[in-house]
């Protein structure tokens, strides 16, 4: 398992689309930082502190399609390049391959999300002043729960990738599903309890009423999805 993780880490560090995604987010944040916040938005959402930027950033699902793309690309390319075969023929258990890919892709998605979070917080800091008013230890808990949700989301896209079995089909499927689930459905399912506490919709506040159902849902989803993915992968012929 440690060898698999080392290799996945090695590949992740050299995965160019990951850096392109980070670059896109950095550029957008710089642009936003230079322009600042529109007064209408400040008045409408009643933004007052840098913490409001943190709250917006941590639940931001705008880049959901990018997350789907990264996961499908990173995991799917191993099918298409037939490099997944290396791990299998080298005697690694298939569930370990699934878990190692889940860990490596989750770390990548978490880093991308962290960039969004820091970027948005910085934009709000520029407007309202860089201070820690409103921040508390509960925010760490909030980050923890969102991390669990990111892992669950990754497990879901990993399942799609394993089902597709090649990078092109998995990219297509994951980008569509992530754009629908993370971006489009938000407009139709606003206020829906199940949707808003699923991994498609990151935790909206640090209140226990949000964090507990989100964490429970994420843990159940992760375990369930990893088990299902491993079972499917265990029966799947890797023949191409």
């Amino acid at each position: 398992m440690m060898n698999l993780l080392r290799i996945e880490g090695y590949k992740a560090r050299r995965f160019i689309p990951f850096y392109i995604c980070l670059g896109i987010i950095v550029l957008m944040c710089i642009d936003w930082f230079c322009q600042g916040l529109k007064q209408e938005a400040i008045d409408y959402w009643n933004y007052r502190t840098m913490h409001d930027g943190f709250a917006e950033g941590i639940q931001d699902c705008s880049f959901s399609f990018l997350y789907g793309m990264i996961i499908a690309w990173f995991a799917g390319i191993d099918f298409t390049n037939r490099t997944l075969h290396r791990a299998i023929v080298s005697g690694n258990k298939r569930w370990k391959i699934v878990v190692s890919k889940l860990i490596s892709t989750s770390v990548m998605i978490f880093i991308i999300h962290l960039f969004t979070l820091v970027g948005e917080t910085a934009v709000f800091g520029k407007v309202f002043g860089f201070n820690f008013v409103g921040f508390s230890m509960r925010d760490l808990l909030w980050i923890g729960v969102v991390t669990l949700q990111i892992i669950a989301m990754t497990a879901f896209y990993l399942l799609i990738t394993i089902l597709c079995g090649n990078v092109f089909a998995s990219l297509f499927a994951c980008v569509i599903v992530s754009a629908l689930g993370g971006n489009v459905l938000r407009n139709f399912l606003r206020g829906n309890f199940i949707y808003e506490h699923s991994f498609f919709c990151l935790a909206k506040s640090s209140s226990a009423a949000d964090l507990i159902p989100c964490a429970v849902c994420a843990i159940i989803a992760t375990v369930g999805l990893v088990v299902v993915t491993s079972l499917i992968f265990n029966k799947k012929d890797v023949a191409n």
Binding site: N3, T83, G91, D237, A239
Partner: protein, 306 residues
Amino acid sequence: MSDVIFEARNLTKKYKNQFALDDVSITLKNNRIYGFIGENGAGKSTLMKIMAGLIFPTSGDMTFMGETDPSAIENKRKGVGTMIEGPYIYPGYSVRQNVELQRLLVGNPDESATDRMIELVGLTDSRKKKAKKLSMGMKQRLGIAMAMVGNPRFLILDEPINGLDPKNIVTLRSMLKKINQDNDCTIFVSSHILSELYLLATDFIFIHKGKIIESVTHEQLEEKCSQYVFVRNNNIPETVTILENHFPDINYKVETDDAIKIYGKPEIMTELSENMMQAGITVSELSAKEMSLEEYFISITGGEKK
């Protein structure tokens, strides 16, 4: 330690309604080099992929390095080097990175193994080159280095000499023989270049349409390859009719308009000669000749007849 490294019992692999492997039973012993011979689509790669754990048999059992439990077999695969249908390479990584990743994957703690294997396959000068920029032959050599970097006890190589130039074919042959002798490594190798396989293998397994049709040692094969009957005459269609009527079990191949090869039973020469004379065929040549491995393969897979 058991003398048997791999045993398959009644292995079957079915894709929809088609059998890729049909009731295959083979036994591979330690420290031998097996030449695995079959036409395209005969089931060679399917069996190799089952051995490597990439695909699962529809039915049948396997014993792998003494283990029969699928989970235990998976663990034993750490001692197996594989190259099936070309090398599994990361195209954007260098030669060295590819071999190094494989070393990590199989858990070989010997860091010098990476450079040693690259040197062994003659890629030292290209070690910094990206794998996608290598020629086909160089990719094959990279695949072989990756297969061997874990000091395997069992090597599964599918068409390893594809794309290699004559010099590298000779190098690979001597390298595989050395690994076989020095490391007590069993090698299971397929190739369409049968003459090359003949120089390498100690045992031969023939597969045809998903079935193992013959399994022989090198010595037995030499004996079997000894003879075929060559006939040259003015009426090959009539000769074919005679063969079909009088020798229904014989395999043959029509070579040209006036020549035919009859495999396996030189003792039919006298009777065949009489039959041709009775049919008014003018025979210009009737002789027993030696077969190459290619000709033997054609003879047992049916030539034109089956």
